[in-house]
């Protein structure tokens, strides 16, 4: 994000991301953090228009044009807040701008209800292969060394509670 004559120019992060447009939503996968995001139309429109040259006002105008309805600047700030928390912008927007934090609730309380859907960014952490599979039986874990490939150090050893503990002087692992 840059500062230009007092205006804030948020820029979308493009590196290490995989995107996939589906009807009404945009899927974004962060290859660095292994997190996946689902942006609704409003959040996606704001994110796509963050090119480091548009101000918040410009982004509101672009969204207005997209959705053919007036858009309050606070909706853009809410989108930027969520995009920034998801690490989808190149810099910390809200703090740098010194703008008060905006929440969906605060917008609704202030009576800012627009025809535009409020921006929503949903996130999940992508699982490791082991986490997405059925855990290895606890007996397998008994007596193993944590540095064994795929062993307790690699985390697939788990039982119902998902815990794996290093035991005693031998460094053997034991599932609890």
């Amino acid at each position: 994000m840059k500062r230009s004559n007092g205006y804030f120019l948020p820029k979308a992060r493009k590196n290490d991301l995989v995107t996939r447009q589906i009807p009404g939503e945009l899927l974004v996968y962060d290859l660095k953090r292994h997190k996946a995001f689902c942006l609704n139309d409003t959040a996606a429109s704001v994110w796509k228009n963050c090119n480091g040259k548009r101000t918040v006002k410009d982004l509101a105008l672009a969204l207005e044009k997209d959705q053919q309805t007036p858009v309050d600047d606070k909706v853009i700030w809410l989108a930027l807040d969520q995009l920034e928390k998801s690490n989808l912008l190149q810099a910390n927007v809200i703090e740098a701008a010194g703008f008060p934090s905006v929440s969906r609730r605060s917008l609704l309380r202030a009576g800012i209800v627009t025809a535009v859907a409020l921006p929503i960014v949903t996130m999940i952490a992508a699982p490791t292969a082991q986490a997405a599979g059925t855990p290895v039986a606890s007996a397998t874990c008994q007596g193993r060394h944590p540095s064994d490939p795929g062993g307790c150090g690699g985390n697939p050893c788990s039982d119902a509670t998902g815990s794996c503990l290093q035991q005693g002087v031998s460094n053997a692992c034991k599932c609890l």
Binding site: V18, C38, A129, T140, Q142, G150
Partner: protein, 273 residues
């Protein structure tokens, strides 16, 4: 690896599974049938002995004239994956790691940790982590007449259709970690064989006493729900992100906690028309 190679290997097999070339060798020929029984559904013998992934199983037990019970060991390439005196447990570990290897590296297939049944030529997919009650729900659906596809992985092709991964159901008794294998025919069910389009995704978890009041998810949220259970989400992200939206494009996706499986079976089946 050389140390392992020097051991006396009595038998072995090279096979192909979902585009991977895998080998297994054992120190005792007598266990080979049990090993073959644990290979992933749909495996085919490979013509060439050259493999990309190699498992080595050292069979323990009591040697003649000795009271010492030796460990059975499982290696994947040079890394030790299992060490136990219970050979059946070692086989379970082998099966578990082998399935994970295939699921993570399969070419042109996306493996989602999920139960799957076929109903009226469409698939019902139940994604979820272990202990979420997938197998219970799948077995009840099979008993209600649905075709069995899998209780472990939904195998999706590039068009988003589900293929069968019909290994015996791994049923857990209450408060037990280990699973017992049950053949689907013992439940009065049959396994499906044709790939099916996904009609319904049920993201649910068992909670005692809960009422089934699911909410519908958007297509994007549905993709995230499946991605959270996709084995190769990190290793083959692009394939997953192109396949999963196709899988849910014509599907209804429901999410919510459920109580007993019997209470939701009818509702779930009625959703597929």
């Amino acid at each position: 690896m050389q140390k392992i190679d020097r051991l006396g290997w009595a038998d072995g097999i090279a096979f192909r599974s979902y585009g991977l070339r895998i080998g297994v060798r054992v120190t005792d020929r007598a266990v080979m049938d049990s090993v073959i029984d644990r290979l992933p559904p749909g495996w085919k013998p490979a013509a060439s002995p050259i493999v990309d992934h190699l498992y080595s199983i050292i069979v323990g037990g009591q040697a003649d004239g000795s009271r010492i019970q030796r460990f059975s060991l499982l290696y994947y390439d040079a890394g030790r994956m299992g060490r136990t005196r219970d050979f059946q447990m070692l086989l379970k570990t082998f099966e578990s790691y082998l399935q994970l290897l295939v699921a993570d590296n399969a070419r042109r297939r996306v493996f989602v940790h999920a139960g799957v049944v076929g109903w009226k030529n469409q698939a019902i997919v139940i994604p979820g982590m272990s202990f979420s009650g997938k197998t219970t729900l799948v077995s009840k659906l099979v008993q209600a007449g649905a075709q069995y596809y899998s209780d472990e992985y939904a195998v999706l092709d590039e068009q988003g259709r589900v293929h069968p991964f019909a290994r015996p159901l791994g049923v857990r008794r209450p408060n037990e970690f280990e699973t017992s294998r049950i053949d689907v025919t013992s439940l009065g069910g049959v396994s499906g064989s044709r790939p099916l389009p996904v009609r319904l995704v049920v993201a649910t978890k068992y909670r005692a006493g809960a009422k089934w009041r699911p909410r519908q998810l958007t297509q994007g949220r549905a993709v995230l729900e499946l991605l959270a259970n996709t084995v190769s989400a990190r290793s083959q992200t692009r394939l997953a992100l192109s396949t999963l939206p196709r899988a849910v494009q014509n599907a209804e996706v429901l999410k919510g906690v459920r109580g007993e499986a019997d209470e939701v079976i009818e509702t779930i089946l009625k959703k597929v028309v």
